[in-house]
């Protein structure tokens, strides 16, 4: 019943798209914005909400006559995961996309009543094109409401590694970021068509850029946390294609954010801002394409279907060509040539930021899609993994960090080096500090020292800003400080981590110079939808302290999958991470033990970064 309502609501929603487009075009000629259109947009949103709730209710009731529910749910699953299972699959997650799309355009219409009418209607029109595309995609190729008869008694269950709180909220947050970029896209196109690319436009769209950016940052963070806790390899980032695909719009959005800050002040860099607005959404969409079509080999697998891939591909390139067309024919770069553009101005530093961001983006983009190109052209298959990204990104991180430390100290138009003294001191301190730290380890002394030096340099100079500027530029400061902390934590996490993989029987002990692992015993526990085998390990550290770790093996009933649950002891300085794995036909278990320093600071710094973005929402004006 619920899915029947959901299914009809979808069709009604699509119907309203047509109505909205019809009336919008009519209004354009009359240069008015009819109240009707706004009402229709709300009604459309309402129908998508009903449809979405229809699916949630089907999941809660375990209505297995619905194909999506049958494929991804099970009666013994806890209620929380029944609900989160709604968007844990291809069909449901697309419905969520659509929900956010219609939600955002409704919010946009409410929030933009100060803006020119023509611009608002055009934004609505472009957004409706995207919405119609998603409606058709959903209804034609991936309907979440397919009916199966006879009704099965039991569902197939949700993959246990997806039954995790972080992953339950990861897709919604991430989609808020992805879909937020669709508003930026439509609005940029509308601004070009109506020649509204201006400081006013920048001020108005900045809110959307910030919001999408904050959500995207948090979404990526949640995915990363999930990978760390659930996938049992003890890493937080693997340069997996799907991770890259979320990182690329992030780079574009971060660049856009900085670019908008300039545009807000002066009408320069307009073409660049337009290109970025288009690129951000195009990259979000290509992400969807790369993940859903199964063209990439990745840990994240959705049910793949070439037909779906083809649809998104055609849709994506239609949008890209549409925007190129609009850019060429409507956009004219009428910038006021201002002569007070100096080398050491804040604008320059933002340009430098943009330059590096684009480089990082191109590395990730090329690394991700190059194997596809090579395979199609030469049939050779190669892998592009972490070493590639490290080699191309790390050296460029050094000037980037230094520029980031110096940049914000420059004034908007002209700046003299009043802070030269402090900067030099910081640089010296950072270098000495890093040299002392890195000297302890015989690992690539030169590059590591310089890297850590530049990260410390940024760390000190942003810390000083807090004292010098106090509440001025607080949001930017927090974000930049968070970034320095992030880089430092990642570097230290890499350099100082300590990892061991070994096979142990119950009662055995494994010794290294740093610690001794004693496998004490195992016990069994029965949970609602899985059986748990819990190991007890006693780790004696060199300094005499000891930790008890209890990694788990979970044998799920539906589907029948064995997963391994890591046990992680977190404190401010290090994470101790242990997993236990079953080995075929042996009485020993495969044990993975890792000491990961500063792990928690990686999460904290990303939260700080997004908090910085969040704060600038409440700022009336960007301070000079």
């Amino acid at each position: 019943m619920a899915s029947l309502i959901g299914s009809y609501s979808l069709s009604f929603g699509l119907l309203f798209s047509i109505l909205i487009i019809f009336f919008s075009v009519k209004n354009l000629k009359a240069e008015i914005l009819d109240k009707k259109i706004i009402t229709f947009t709300f009604i459309q949103f309402f129908f998508v909400v009903i449809s979405f709730f229809g699916l949630i209710i089907s999941f809660i009731n375990s209505d297995f006559s619905n194909e999506t529910v049958f494929n991804h749910s099970h009666t013994t699953k806890p209620l929380f995961y029944k609900i989160s299972g709604t968007w844990g699959n291809h069909e449901g997650s697309l419905l969520l996309w659509l929900l956010v799309l219609t939600l955002f355009i409704s919010i946009f219409l409410i929030k933009s009543n100060q803006q020119p009418k023509k611009y608002r209607i055009f934004t609505l029109l472009f957004q409706q094109i995207i919405i119609v595309g998603f409606f058709i995609f959903l209804i034609k190729t991936s309907s979440p409401f397919n009916y199966i008869f006879p009704t099965p008694n039991e569902g197939l269950g949700l993959n246990p590694i997806l039954q995790d709180p972080a992953l339950a909220i990861h897709p919604p947050i991430l989609y808020l970021g992805y879909v937020g970029s669709s508003i930026i896209f439509s609005s940029a196109l509308a601004a070009m068509v109506t020649s509204y690319v201006s400081k006013e436009w920048a001020k108005h769209i900045k809110k959307w850029v910030l919001a999408s950016w904050v959500f995207l940052t948090l979404g990526i963070l949640l995915g990363s946390i999930w990978a760390y806790y659930e996938l049992g390899w003890g890493g937080f980032w693997f340069w997996d294609p799907v991770e890259n695909v979320s990182l690329m719009p992030w780079f574009a959005l971060t660049t856009l954010l900085h670019c908008i800050l300039v545009l807000e002040k002066k009408k320069i860099l307009t073409s660049w801002a337009m290109i970025l607005s288009i690129a951000t959404f195009a990259l979000s969409m290509s992400g969807t394409f790369l993940v859903r079509s199964g063209i990439l080999n990745s840990v994240h697998t959705f049910a793949n279907d070439p037909e779906r891939g083809l649809f998104i591909l055609i849709f994506l390139f239609t949008l890209i060509f549409l925007s190129i067309f609009i850019f060429i024919f409507f956009h004219s770069e009428k910038e006021k040539l201002e002569n007070n553009f100096f080398w050491l101005s804040k604008e320059t530093s933002i340009l430098v930021n943009n330059w590096f961001m684009m480089y990082f983006l191109s590395v990730v983009l090329i690394g991700t899609i190059y194997p596809i190109f090579l395979e199609v052209i030469t049939t050779n298959k190669i892998s592009v993994g972490p070493p590639f990204y490290n080699k191309l990104i790390l050296p460029f991180l050094i000037p980037f960090l230094i520029a980031m430390a110096i940049g914000p100290n420059l004034n908007w138009v002209k700046s003299d080096f009043k802070d030269k003294f402090y900067m030099t001191i910081f640089l010296i301190i950072s270098f000495l500090l890093s040299a002392v730290i890195i000297k302890q380890f015989d690992i690539n002394f030169l590059i590591n020292t310089i890297l850590v030096t530049s990260a410390f340099f940024l760390f000190f100079s942003t810390s000083r800003e807090f004292f010098v500027k106090r509440f001025r530029n607080l949001s930017q400061n927090i974000a930049h400080f968070g970034f320095s902390l992030l880089i430092l934590s990642i570097l230290f996490n890499n350099i100082f981590s300590n990892e061991v993989i070994t096979n142990l029987k119950i009662g055995e002990t494994f010794e290294t110079e740093k610690f001794t692992i004693n496998f004490e015993n195992i016990k069994q526990e029965d949970e609602k939808n899985f059986k748990a085998i819990i190991g007890k390990f006693n780790v004696q550290n060199l300094d005499g302290s000891s930790d008890i770790l209890n990694p788990e093996l979970r044998i799920y009933n539906q589907p029948n999958i064995i997963t391994s649950e890591a046990d992680i002891k977190t404190n401010l300085l290090t994470d101790k991470f242990m997993t236990m794995n079953y080995v075929q036909n042996q009485e020993y278990f495969n044990i993975r033990y890792q000491v990961k320093p500063f792990m928690i600071w990686i999460w904290v710094s990303v939260i700080l970064i997004s908090f910085g973005g969040f704060l600038s929402f409440f700022k009336k004006r960007y301070e000079v």
Binding site: F321, I324, I372, E375, V376, K381, N585
Partner: protein, 172 residues
């Protein structure tokens, strides 16, 4: 001049990208290695399955015969499926079957052979799976057709009807 040139290049790049993605969609993303490799048989020394005596690889493949080197384990479910095809091959005089018992224990493996029959002329045991890496194998089940000390064909996954015919055609 410049303003027309750049958009054209852009459109061109995106068109190429579209075509590549379009073609890429049709390619399968599951990795299938080249199955017709003329590679030398790797050398190994492994314990015999039955009596723990050392068996050297040169001794196994020395005759001018065809050999099917089959990686199997009692815990591997698809191995049960392919077993009946191996039993059929056993009857063929021109080919010898070499069992490569992968990460298994003696008790389970012998009862597996007792229940389903033993098609192998020689069985060696690869306790830790390292010897299978030397063969470039992915896991169980997997089979290599060997002739004159060369791997002439490999079968990843269980042997089926089609593979059986193919083998019989080659050894004829």
């Amino acid at each position: 001049m410049k303003s027309k040139f750049i958009p054209l290049i852009l459109i061109f790049i995106f068109l190429i990208t579209f075509v590549i993605f379009f073609k890429g969609l049709k390619n399968s993303n599951i990795y299938t290695p080249n199955t017709n490799l003329k590679k030398e048989v790797p050398l190994f020394e492994l314990k015999s399955f039955e009596n723990n005596s050392i068996i050297i690889s040169e001794k196994i493949f020395e005759d001018n015969k065809y050999y099917l080197m089959n990686i199997w384990a009692s815990w591997c479910i698809p191995c049960k499926e392919e077993h009946k095809f191996l039993m059929k091959l056993k009857k063929d005089e021109r080919i010898e079957l070499i069992g490569f018992n992968y990460k298994d224990n003696f008790k389970n493996a012998s009862s597996f052979l007792k229940d389903l029959g033993n098609p192998y002329n020689i069985i060696v045991s690869d306790k830790d799976g390292t010897a299978s890496i030397e063969w470039g194998a992915y896991g169980v089940p997997e089979s290599f057709l060997v002739h004159q000390n060369k791997i002439i064909k490999r079968f990843i996954g269980p042997i089926n009807d089609e593979n059986l015919l193919e083998i019989q055609k080659i050894i004829r």
